[in-house]
Subunit: 341 residues, 2 copies
């Protein structure tokens, strides 16, 4: 038997625990060779008075296993708290956020049956650097920070990804007509690095019209590389019009550590009701298995998941009377995937 | 006869001159009581060595007429040039950018037949303040600036607009989970001012999921108010999925001056070919006529324009074999609208 790979797991907040349970049950049934080490982060840690939402024990586990499967977490609103998601990405140097979005037509409703786009989002800079201040009673500011090494890293990653996966085109989205220094640098580096990938088509669009065309004709896009904030917005758009944000997983890639998660949030309004779709986190987990070299079990799970959707076994978010066969809960969906393994 | 209202007109760059010609011909044929004063701004002015793209004579005209019908203009890329669009908006204090988007189903193809959304975009602050600098060889920064008076103005405008036009709901989009001071202030002011409009439903969404739901289910939205950059992105998205960015006009509202334009750019690739759709600028012109009190001629033009589209007289961007009747050029489209007056 394969040596088990230690991974760090956080059950998160809101719907986190139930979708993590469903996901880990599927991985276990499929024989994934992982040994999860559970850490507590997010809401409970805040409530204990730790305004960072994460403690030293959790950091140690992350630094040791270097592979993190994370359910959605909640950061309290209010100026005393920095987003824990952002803290983790920055602290672990997770510079690339890879978000594949794929239509599952005809099994899951979409207006865009040919959608197959991978969003590669810069993950550490931009307005996410968290530099905000009150300048006077009525004036507040946020610093958008862009560095050349940051641009180089993400853009090289995007082209390497395209090459590795046989993708044909990389589209870069910026607002370089307004932000000539910051977005201008991102685009300049895109041109410089793109020149080393002659076999891959290159395209640049201003983010406003680029996002509009992505939302209208996503089948015209292949790999998209962009700055942190634009990537945040367009990845939700593309995942949603592919079927649902509930379907998309993401890989947060660093030089030393990697974190896998769903792209959606903790949805406290439906927490604990056994109705959430565990697919986003499961997709994250499948990317994790690929990453740690367990390709076979990853594709077994992917196929079982597809078969479940094809059989019309659907959670409430995608249930369509007449087309879906069964409206199931979170755990029943996991059971169905397990049966299809 | 009505006293003619003096307005300032700029023919702009790229497709600007031809769509302005088409638009003014329609206004003239409909008997709009305007007396246009033409100014030269944009490309030609840059080429004469004026890096602002606008001269004193143009400013004087704008300050005198206070009503500006503007075709798309081009600002050269490169760090020596500030966007002329932004310069005009800021100099004239055009704080609100109003962008109505409406489906013309079944006459114009759309996947969203019930779309009817008005985007009200803050127009002076945010990363558009144009404060960027190179901090070191490898680090560049852009300042996102938000002020309380700026938030108050745009949010009050959005609620007053909703009230005046009998709209039922105002949705506010921010990223206040990350930018707690800047976007946080916008949302706080939304709550404060919203409280004075008990008859209007209020909703707040994080921009990522908000943009995703707008792109997927636009029929669930009514009036949307948001910060400058988000507004830029989502207005292109909503206009495009309603039919085409080529259809949307916008009003840039200030306390003293007002500017009307298409939301699209100068499209140099198709300039001078008589194929551009003049509808976006015409919609801007119709909003202008409403604004200067010529409601009757505004609605005559609107109806003639709708009749033209309903008759299947379509420019190339929206031509669909089988459904459209005639594929016409820019000026022929204008002729058809004039015939329907
Ligand atoms: C929860 C939030 C901080 C996060 C982000 O903005 O990056 C989320 O929207 C995401 O896309 O992963
Ligand atoms: C041309 C550009 C400066 C402008 C903007 O970003 O505001 C345009 O995209 C718009 O939406 O009017």
């Amino acid at each position: 038997m394969l040596q088990k790979t230690p991974i760090t797991v956080a059950y998160g907040d809101g719907i986190g625990p139930e979708i993590m349970e469903a996901t880990l049950r599927i991985l276990d049934a499929a024989g994934a060779a992982i040994s999860p080490e559970v850490i507590e982060i997010g809401e409970k840690v805040y409530l204990q008075g730790n305004t960072s939402g994460i403690d030293q024990k959790a950091w140690s586990s992350l630094r040791k296993t270097k592979v993190f499967l994370k359910a959605p977490i909640t950061t309290p609103l209010g100026t005393g708290y920095k987003s824990l998601n952002v803290t983790i990405r920055k602290t672990l140097g997770l510079f690339a956020n890879v978000r594949p979005c794929l239509s599952l037509h005809p099994f899951v409703a979409t207006k865009h049956p040919k959608l197959d786009v991978v969003i590669i989002r810069e993950n550490e800079e931009d307005v996410y650097a968290g530099i905000e201040h009150q300048q006077s009673a009525d004036v507040v500011q946020c610093l958008k920070l862009i560095t050349r090494p940051g641009c180089e890293k993400i853009i090289r990653y995007a082209f390497e990804y395209a090459r590795a996966y046989g993708r044909k085109k990389v589209t870069c989205l910026t607002k370089n007509n307004i932000m000539k220094l910051t977005d201008g640098l991102f685009y300049q580096v895109f041109q410089e690095i793109g020149a080393h990938y002659p076999e891959i088509a290159k395209e640049h669009q201003i983010i406003d019209i680029g996002a509009a065309l992505l939302a209208d004709k996503p089948e015209k896009y292949d790999v998209v590389v962009t700055l942190n904030l634009y990537g945040d917005i367009i990845s939700d758009i593309v995942a949603q019009i592919a079927g649902s944000v509930g379907f998309a997983g993401s890989a947060n890639i660093g030089d030393h550590c990697t974190m896998f998660e769903a792209i959606h949030g903790s949805a406290p309004d439906i927490a604990g009701k056994n109705i959430a779709n565990p697919s986003g986190l499961l997709q994250g987990a499948i990317m994790m298995l690929m990453h740690i070299g367990q390709r076979e079990v990853a594709s077994t799970i992917q196929n079982a998941w597809l078969a479940t959707l094809e059989n019309g076994i659907h959670t409430a978010d995608i249930y369509r009377p007449g087309i879906s066969k069964l409206n199931v809960g979170t755990q029943q969906f996991a059971d169905a995937v397990i049966e299809n393994l």
